[in-house]
């Protein structure tokens, strides 16, 4: 009994490992790079420009093709450096006078990947001085945590700095903050124009903006609209000072928190799944461009500066599984396992591509197994378990039961 049980466990391990490694080797050998086209919106012709680097073609939505140089001039806000060097930068666009300083200030490019959301974090945070005396942002000598207060720990001696702790805790409590915080979102880097501290969700799911100004605490309550359930926040300091942060909600909506009264500005995108899709948020003097990348599709939403939708563009392509290698893989593997995922930093057993195309191969492998076992003159009935395993798990089970045969 113990022997049988041990063998079944071993077979399960082999199935687990072959389901991880065989598809992995298959994809390493046969997968091809899928390059999604890069789509921009031209303020010159007020039309999408599609840059297909795979075919080295540039065209607009009507199919009209352009040379690379023409594209440069139609997207002056993206290629301003190149155009300025060549002396081709226009003085005005759509009647608005432009200069490099304005272009640069209004330029925003931010990407949110699922892996940016699903990643481990040590719950310790650095609160920068927002008004540094020497103007340059400097690393603070404390990290903070939140428990029943906002505790600052000095990096010098790994001890709690009581003075900072009590000044921040007192202010937060007086503003109605309830400890402990559930999440703290900040942007701990000195490579930014200025510092906006942290957006913190307290124990009552309320949102607070916390900063350190001249060594003193600053705390402001941010009103979350009723229909917004925050999943995650990306706080980013852009020179434009139009918004504090990007907010992704539990129902996969995208918002900005504006400088203007902490207003939540909804971005008109649809059909976004924050666990699988990548979002690219781009801004320039005239437009906001939001691209939602899926495995087999991209959809671009262009809005004016008031976030009113102007136009959309959609392009699809064959996903990995729809291409030849993907189709072949479904006839070989009944399912696939992977330890890592492009959507998460965590190691786990990611199950995917369950399909029934492999049933033909499963039947063939089952027949081979029966023939082999019959040749060895082992009880066919006693091996029923093996047959079921081969039938269900196909090539993985076939390898497992035939390497580690029943010894009875």
């Amino acid at each position: 009994m113990l022997i049988k049980f041990s063998r079944i466990l071993l077979i399960l391990l082999v199935i687990l490992l072959t389901a991880i490694y065989l598809p992995h080797f298959f994809w390493m050998s046969f997968s091809e790079r899928i390059r999604a086209p890069y789509v921009q919106y031209s303020p010159v012709i007020e039309e999408f420009i599609i840059m297909d680097y795979e075919k080295d073609k540039f065209y607009d939505t009507s199919g009209k093709e352009y040379s690379r140089e023409e594209v440069d001039t139609m997207l002056p806000l993206s290629h301003y450096r190149l155009l300025a060097t060549k002396g081709l930068l226009p003085d005005s666009i759509q009647g608005l006078e432009i200069n490099i300083e304005d272009i640069r200030k209004n330029y925003i490019n931010f990407r949110i990947r699922p892996v940016d959301i699903n990643k481990p974090q040590i719950p310790l945070y650095q609160l920068f001085e927002s008004k540094p005396p020497r103007l340059k942002l400097e690393m603070p000598d404390e990290f903070f945590r939140t428990n029943d207060r906002m505790e600052f720990i000095s990096t010098e001696n790994n001890e709690i700095s009581e003075e900072l702790t009590s000044s921040f805790t007192d202010l937060l409590v007086s503003k109605g903050f309830e400890f402990p915080a559930k999440k703290c979102y900040g942007n701990p880097t000195t490579r930014k124009a200025y510092d906006e501290g942290y957006l913190v969700i307290d124990n009552k799911e309320e949102l607070y903006h916390i900063k350190k100004i001249n060594g003193n605490p600053f705390c402001e309550k941010v009103i979350i609209p009723d229909d917004v359930k925050i999943k995650t926040i990306f706080l980013r300091e852009y020179s434009l000072k139009e918004f504090y942060a990007f907010v992704i909600t539990e129902d996969n909506k995208l918002y900005l928190i504006l400088f203007e009264n902490y207003k939540f500005q909804k971005i008109p995108i649809q059909n976004y799944n924050s666990d699988e899709d990548i979002i690219r948020f781009q801004g320039n003097l005239f437009y906001r461009l939001v691209t939602v990348y899926k495995e087999d599709q991209l959809k671009v939403y262009v809005t004016n500066r008031k976030y009113e939708l102007i136009d959309t563009y959609e392009k699809t392509w064959k996903s990995k599984m729809e291409r030849t290698a993907g189709q072949i893989s479904t006839y070989i593997f009944p399912f696939e396992l992977s330890l890592n995922s492009s959507d998460s930093m965590y190691i786990d057993f990611y199950f995917s591509n369950l399909n029934f195309n492999s049933i033909y191969l499963n039947v063939v492998l089952l027949l081979i197994t029966i023939l082999w076992i019959r040749k060895k003159k082992i009880h066919i009935i006693a091996d029923g378990m093996d047959y079921i395993i081969v039938m269900v798990t196909g090539i993985f089970g076939f390898i497992a039961v035939n390497i580690f045969r029943n010894e009875d």
Binding site: L2, I122, P188, Y346, F349, I403, F404
Partner: protein, 223 residues
């Protein structure tokens, strides 16, 4: 009988265990010196930033593979002598149940490894708590767990492969174990196994059973 069996097993692995213990201590000493060096040279704030924000594993480097190395070494020193000249055959003839004999043999190796691992775990805890807040320690405990698990698993794997008599199965087992061990060393940053470590531990525990399967084949083949 049980006691003398344990004593016999301990005699085989005592020098290897002592050597492993010394290497562990030297390595932990190195981690301490290295961390304190960086605390001075990039300043505590810089070091904390690297560890907390950028995900540098300050106890990484060679230490990652040390538990694995220990498991393999203990397995080899304990079971290779049994296999050469089929001494295990004699051992299994002792007036005890065969599986009980095997379990006692495994338990002494497992216990030795666990003791070394536990001591190193505690020292690592002390080093972390000396330099960093407790949050870093929690992440350290989760991050190092797969490495220790790999060590224990490797020990059991070496035992199984040693007492396996069929060469074809030995090679197959080796492939399986390498595949599993590889899955414990995905090291992008800290805490990556937080969601799945329990499953990895359960899978490893299931594999203590495999030794019975190999022992069964050994008895069938040799006795």
């Amino acid at each position: 009988m049980f006691k003398s069996l344990l004593f016999k097993e301990w005699l085989k692995i005592k020098w290897a265990s002592a050597a492993i213990f010394v290497v562990f201590m030297l390595m932990l000493g190195y981690i301490y010196i290295n961390t304190s060096y960086y605390m001075r040279f990039i300043e505590p704030t810089g070091m904390w930033y690297n560890v907390v924000i950028r995900g540098t594993i300050f106890y990484g480097g060679l230490y990652i593979y040390l538990p694995l190395f220990a498991g393999i070494l203990i397995g080899i020193t304990q079971f290779i002598p049994e296999i050469s000249a089929s001494r295990l055959k004699l051992t299994l003839h002792l007036p005890m149940k065969e599986n009980a004999i095997l379990l006692s043999m495994l338990s002494i190796g497992t216990f030795t490894l666990l003791s070394i691992y536990l001591i190193s775990y505690i020292i690592l805890t002390l080093i972390s708590t000396y330099f960093f807040p407790v949050e870093v320690l929690w992440s350290l405990l989760i991050t190092t767990l797969p490495w220790y698990l790999a060590g224990l698993f490797a020990y059991w794997a070496v035992v199984m492969i040693s007492i396996e008599i069929k060469w074809s199965i030995r090679i197959a087992l080796l492939m399986v174990f390498l595949g599993f061990l590889n899955s414990l060393f995905y090291l992008d940053t800290y805490n990556t196994y937080a969601n799945s470590i329990i499953i990895f531990i359960l899978i490893s525990l299931c594999f203590v059973f495999q030794t019975f399967l190999s022992a069964y084949r050994f008895r069938k083949g040799v006795l």
